[in-house]
Amino acid sequence: MEIIKQNKKMQQLIGTTLRVGVMTACCIAILSGSYYLIRHGAEPVPDYMKFHGEPISLTTLSGIFSGLLHFQARNWIQLGVLVLMLTPITRIILSLIDFAHEKDWLYVTITAIVFLVILSNSIGGGLL
């Protein structure tokens, strides 16, 4: 029987990446959230009871990033969401590198498929 030893170093690296990613996203959310409250806190709540969809400045990478330059609080929050979303994606890329390093081509392929599923969707809907 074949037992696959998992790479201890890579486990530590993936674990740390997940933690750092989530914490970074949370810090961005706290800072930009406070900024958002200072600027808009006294305004009445937008109508969340009906779905209106977000403007294009909050649904595409170019829209989100151009808003950052103009210090739009909502765009900075959306950056936090993006960092949060990038966290699991980063760990896929780390696994890909690890499997390639071990010359485990079967798992390089498997990991690449998962990565491509996510990537193709980002392009398909106009995020990138």
């Binding site: 696959i4 997940l18 706290i30 009906k50 909050l58 969401v81 949060l84 979303m85 966290t87 696994s95």
Partner: protein, 277 residues
């Protein structure tokens, strides 16, 4: 109501959701949706967007520790993520045209299923003879126990993969991690040790949720004003819950919680059928 008041209510609710989610092992998303839709009357689509944010945050946060301890089977997770991500993208696309009331009824049904799964007894799989397919895919592994590293084999790769596909669809449709179904796929179908099943399920939730979050973000379902209090609250709550979990006997709490979930589920299904969303 001002944005400030709304934000404070959201942070407190999300904290509670994260706290209960980590004590009961349900994750953050499942509790965020009923709070937002039933209590705060937020549109279901925004609630799903918020639940995805909560799912990614809580799963990545807790997966971090399990991966370092070496309990998580990374190969198994990676392989099954093919099923969950494809399913999740499919589910997210279905959600875009499916009437909200039907989504609410499905959500209620998933809650009932989750509550029942919590009552399920876990049995140790002994002398599992692994299948050829599992061996070829190098899915066998080891995990740390009190008596040192223990090795295990697993079987029924195809069955597990198909259940994961539906877990992915539900996750994309509802914005939740659908951990209960993921554990069922590994523990019951593939005979993976329970501890490895739960941690690997947790590990997979982040990637699965991102696959559908990409679709939701582009369609404008993720609102910054809801996302940031949810992210902060859920993370704070789940960290606090994890700290308390070591000192608390959660058996009684889980029993009470099962009833609470069933009540919420009935409420969801009733409101969905009456067309109130």
């Amino acid at each position: 109501m001002t944005i400030l008041t709304f934000t404070i209510i959201l942070i407190i609710s999300a904290f509670l959701a994260g706290f209960l989610g980590s004590l009961t092992g349900l994750g953050g998303g499942v509790i965020v949706i009923p709070i937002l839709t039933l209590c705060l009357h937020v549109d279901f689509h925004y609630a799903i967007g918020a639940a995805l944010v909560a799912s990614i945050a809580t799963s990545s946060g807790s997966a971090s520790a399990y991966v370092k301890e070496g309990i998580t089977n990374i190969r198994l997770g990676m392989f099954l993520e093919i099923a969950t991500t494809i399913g999740a993208v499919g589910g997210a696309i279905i959600a875009l045209w499916m009437p909200t009331n039907i989504i609410a009824v499905i959500f209620g049904a998933v809650l009932v299923f989750t509550a029942l799964m919590q009552q399920r007894r876990t049995t140790d799989h002994v002398n599992v003879v692994g299948s050829n397919m599992a061996r070829k895919l190098k899915l066998y592994g080891t995990y740390p126990t009190k008596d040192g590293e223990k090795s295990y084999q697993l079987t029924n790769v195809f069955g597990g993969f198909s259940v994961m596909l539906s877990a992915g669809v539900l996750s994309g449709l509802l914005g939740i991690g659908s951990g209960a179904l993921k554990v069922l796929a590994m523990d019951a179908a593939m005979k993976v040790p329970f501890k490895v099943s739960t941690t690997t399920s947790n590990f997979m939730i982040g990637v699965t949720a991102v696959a559908s979050a990409v679709v939701y973000l582009q369609r404008g379902y993720i609102d910054p004003g809801i996302a940031f209090p949810i992210m902060i609250g859920v993370l704070g709550g789940s960290l606090f819950g994890a700290k308390l979990l070591k000192r608390l006997n959660v058996k009684v709490l889980r029993k009470i919680f099962v009833f609470a979930i069933l009540l919420v589920a009935i409420n969801m299904i009733y409101n969905g059928i009456m067309g109130k969303f």
